[in-house]
Structures are given as structure tokens and as C-alpha cells.
């Protein structure tokens, strides 16, 4: 239909009509239909951000792009991300009347693409609650069993079969806390007598072996922080005063290497110490350990750090000092070709992003959802 063939007498009216009403040409117009976005083409720089509060946010750290969010009940963040499946797990607590009523603890299974809830598995309502920590839940290395640390304040670990979607058993771990998985369905726990316990599950998730090292640190005089970092099959821990211990499994036995010091004698005199909420991070490919450091006296093990010291894990020597723009409570590293160091500020209002290789500051992320952030997890393991 040609609008310009219409006579002048009705020009204004026709203009109005053709503007407002569908015509033959407009009838062929295909209107938009709202859709549901999927998470596609994930990047190694996609990072989950969470802590206290009920929301967990996924951000592309490189582009400062907000990607998605889910809610995890009334619990602190306890994520477990499998290496192989297109799903991920979150240990969550719910009450029937929000803050009162019957308590239910579950492992929620979500799709990594849509974040849709695929399944949930009930587990004992004993999950650890406290300040956010990365080691309250984890998967065995074969992705088969979820390990959920409990405190009532009795200590135990719940074993959940993620393949068969069922709770299996609760293992008493009295005196030992948190979960640090390693090879062959083993996991370590740190113990109050200064030792490490190592438990191993069989293929059905039943306890196969339980062993304990000799005490190797003094929890009263220089305790090992429970905030460790994994590199390969080994776990690294720092003491309050900056001694680094490596926990490794050698020929089926847990061994503790002789500690080495983060600080020189001069730095010790200047009271340089590790500290913060997440004080350690490892860059796997670079074989590097990043440590959040501050200057402070006794009992400053949770103080925000002002520098990140980077150590080569082959030589145990320091190779870089990154001066942080703001006092930092948590460190995190992405592991892609362009790795970034994330530094969460003391008050939790900003994440400074540094190039991990050079230590050069890149940009800041200041809007990442409604939560009290504390922890990071890479979207891709």
C-alpha cells in the first residue's frame, strides 16, 4: 500500500491513522519476544562473589560486567564447583519462617548455564556458620562426593553423593575442623592439637582410612591460620607469624614440609605479618603464592593487608611486592591466560583488579550486588 496515493483532504487524518494503526506492511512486523538469557562462552575471568547475605553474584571481572545472581538461603557462601559437570553446588540453610521455624540444610544443585535449580539433597541441619570461609564445603577430586563441615559445636563432616543425589553419612571429626580436599577422595582437616587429620573415602563414599600426623605447630604460640590455598594436590598454610607449611600426600601418607618464613629478620622487626579474611591465593601456572601482608603486633591475624607479596613456590623466594590501593581483606586469583588478582577492600565496598603478572592496577569494581562480600570462586575450575 502506498500512503502517498491518498488525497490531500484526508492527509492529516490519514497520517494519524497510518501512524497509529497497523497497515499491510506493519502486519508483517515480527514483534520481540522476551527471552531468558543463558550463560554462554564462559571466561576464566568469570568469578562468583559472595559472603554473608543471601545473594551470590557472578561477574566478568575483566569487563566489569554483571552476569547473574542466585540466592543461597540464610547461610554464608558455601560453593562447590565440579570440574566436569555442567552444574554446581551450594550448601544452604533455610528456616520455615525465614528466621525461625524448622531448619533445613540442603545441597542445592544448579545448572551452570541457566542457574536453574536442578535438584536438592537434604543433609543434617548442622552446617557450619560463622564468618565466611572457603573451606566449609568442598568436593572430592573426582567430583563425586560433597564434603560439608558441621559445627554444633561438635565437629563432623557430612558426605553427600552428588552422583546418586543422596546423603551418605556423617563422619565424626571431633577436634578437627573444615575440609581441604586432595587426591583420591582424601581430605584433610586441621586439628586443635596442631596436627592434620586425613580421611579417605572409598568409591561408595564410606570412610576408608583415617590418619593423623604428629603435631607440627603450637596452636597457642603460633597457630596455623585455617585459611589455606591449594596448589596441585598440596595445601599451603601460613602461621600467624608467617611460617609457611605445605601439607602433601606422599605414598599415601600425609606429610608436612619443614616450614619456611615469609618474612626476613628485618621484616619481622618491622612487624610484617600475613592476615585478613582470605590471606592466601595460588597462581597455578606461575607456581606462585600470593600472601596478604600488613604491619601489626600480636593478634592482628585478621587485619586487612596493605601489600600482596608474591612468592615462587619452587624456590620459596619472594619475587614481587604489590602495593595495594586500599586495605584489603581478601585476595583471589583468576587462572586464565590473562590472570587477574582481585583485592576486596576492608569495608567490602570495592574490588580492585590488578594484572597478576605485573602487579599493575587495572580497574576497580564497585557494584556487585546486595551482600557483604568476602569470598570469590572461579566459575571455571
Amino acid at each position: 500500500m502506498n500512503h502517498f496515493e491518498i488525497g490531500r483532504g484526508c492527509l492529516l487524518t490519514c497520517i494519524a491513522i497510518t501512524t497509529l494503526l497497523p497497515t499491510g506492511a506493519v502486519a508483517e512486523f515480527k514483534p520481540e519476544r522476551p527471552t531468558l538469557s543463558k550463560l554462554e562462552n564462559p571466561s576464566p575471568n568469570w568469578v562468583w562473589i559472595g559472603g554473608a547475605g543471601s545473594s551470590v553474584t557472578l561477574m566478568d571481572i575483566e569487563s566489569d560486567r554483571y552476569l547473574a545472581q542466585f540466592n543461597n538461603g540464610v547461610s554464608t557462601l558455601k560453593l562447590a564447583i565440579p570440574k566436569r559437570n555442567n552444574e554446581f553446588y551450594s550448601v544452604e540453610t533455610y528456616m520455615t519462617r525465614m528466621y525461625r521455624g524448622a531448619r533445613t540444610d540442603v545441597v542445592t544443585v544448579r545448572s551452570k548455564d541457566t542457574l536453574a535449580v536442578i535438584d536438592e539433597i537434604a543433609m543434617p541441619a548442622k552446617s557450619y556458620e560463622g564468618m565466611s570461609i572457603l573451606h566449609a564445603a568442598a568436593l572430592t577430586d573426582d567430583d563425586r562426593f560433597l564434603l560439608g563441615f558441621n559445627m554444633t559445636p561438635g565437629q563432623s563432616v557430612s558426605i553427600v553423593d552428588m552422583h546418586d543425589r543422596r546423603f551418605i553419612e556423617e563422619l565424626d571429626t571431633t577436634g578437627c575442623a573444615l575440609v581441604y580436599p586432595t587426591l583420591q577422595r582424601r581430605f584433610h582437616l586441621l586439628c586443635g592439637d596442631g596436627s592434620v587429620a586425613t580421611l579417605q573415602l572409598d568409591a561408595s563414599g564410606q570412610l576408608l582410612t583415617r590418619a593423623r600426623t604428629a603435631s607440627f605447630f603450637n596452636p597457642d604460640t603460633d597457630p596455623v591460620m585455617e585459611k589455606g590455598a591449594r596448589h596441585g594436590d598440596d595445601w599451603y598454610f601460613t602461621s600467624f607469624n608467617g611460617l609457611i607449611y605445605k601439607v602433601a600426600v606422599v605414598d599415601g601418607e600425609t606429610q608436612i614440609t619443614s616450614p619456611w618464613a615469609l618474612v626476613s629478620a628485618d621484616e619481622l622487626n618491622l612487624q610484617w605479618k600475613p592476615g585478613g579474611m582470605v590471606p592466601l591465593a595460588v597462581h597455578d601456572r606461575d607456581n606462585s603464592l600470593y600472601v596478604l601482608m600488613h604491619r601489626g603486633g600480636a593478634d592482628t591475624h585478621k587485619q586487612a593487608g596493605t601489600q600482596a607479596w608474591v612468592f615462587d613456590l619452587g624456590s620459596n623466594s619472594r619475587k614481587k611486592v604489590i602495593r595495594l590501593k586500599h586495605p584489603t581483606q581478601s585476595l583471589h586469583l583468576t587462572q586464565g591466560k590473562t590472570p587477574y588478582l582481585l583485592a576486596l577492600s576492608e569495608e567490602g565496598e570495592r574490588i580492585d583488579v590488578y594484572h597478576a603478572g605485573t602487579g599493575e592496577w587495572s580497574h576497580v569494581i564497585e557494584s556487585f550486588g546486595d551482600m557483604y562480600p568476602a569470598l570469590f570462586h572461579n566459575y571455571i575450575r
Binding site: A52, G53, S54, V74, S75, T76, T93, M95, Y99, R100, R103, A125, K126, S127, Y128, E129, G130, M131, I133, N150, M151, T152, P153, G154, Q155, G175, C176, A177, L178, L189, L190, C191, G192, P219, D220, P223, V224, M225, E226, A298, D299, T300, H301, K302, Y372
Partner: protein
Amino acid sequence: MSHSNFKPVTIDSLAEKVLRHVARSSSRRGLLKRVGGLLLGAASIPLLPVSRTMAAADIPDDALISGDGGDPESCNYWRYCGIDGNPCSCCGGGANSCPPGTELSPIGWIGTCKHPVDGRDYLVAYYDCCGTTSCGRCFCTSNEGDRPVYVPFKNNDIVWCFGTESNTYHCTLASVIDVAPQ
């Protein structure tokens, strides 16, 4: 104990033994990092049932203290040397009482605080009041003597609302329970 004339807030003998043991190893420690709305372990705590009967006698008199050390709404209040949270005195309760609408947790934490006037060290038990989200006022924190989670009774990261009907942390009170062992 040689302080037979002291009339503390009552706790049962087992709880007292455990808590005093903890207290001996640290003169001042943080209690709990608090985050509003967190829920805690709901299992009951059979080992540490606590009954509380305030006794006025021999409790140090705050009126003798000048300045912040005698102000229950200040983090410098002498009883709060081991606190890590929101003092209930800022939240509608008192230094030794939970606010309306909350529930007193049956398990406590011990600090050893020096009274600024008489110079004596007292054992102070800290208890959580639970049942509504964090009061968020007067947040006071200390990590002195704090130990990692694997030493739970010396750790102030754990949320200690165990054994309560409602497991949501609101605030913390401080009860003077005895004179500290020398």
C-alpha cells in the same frame, strides 16, 4: 577456687569448669564476628546447659567508674574486653540482659576483664541473644587470644547461637561470673 564469698551469675559446674579452663589461657579475646541474619547450628547443646540467676552481691559497681569504662554502650566498657559483636546494652537490653523479642543462648564464652577501679580480674561470660537479625549497633571487636576455627572455644568467627529455638544472632551480653583465678 578460693573466692568463696563471690556470688556469681550461676552456671552449672561442668560449664563453669570448661569455660574457666578456656579463660585461664587468655586474658582478653574476641568473641564473635557478627553478620546480620546469619543462622547457626540448630542442634541442642547438652553439655553446657546454663541457668542464670543474677546476684547483686560482690558484682563490681559500675557507678564507681568514670568515663567509657563504666558505660555499657561503649566498646570500652570494662566487661566487653572479650566481646566481638553488638553489645545488647545498645540493642534494647542491658549489659547482662537480652532485649525483648530475643532468646538467650544457653552456651557462653569467657573472657577475663580487669575492673578499672578495684584492679581485680573477673571472669566474664558472653552469651548471645538470638531470634532476630543483627542489631547492628555499637559493633565491638577484638581478636586478642582468638584462635582458628579448629580451636572452637577460642574462636570468634563462629556464630555461637547453638541450642536456641531461633538461630539468628542479634546481640551479645556480658555476665560477671567470678573473680578470675590468679
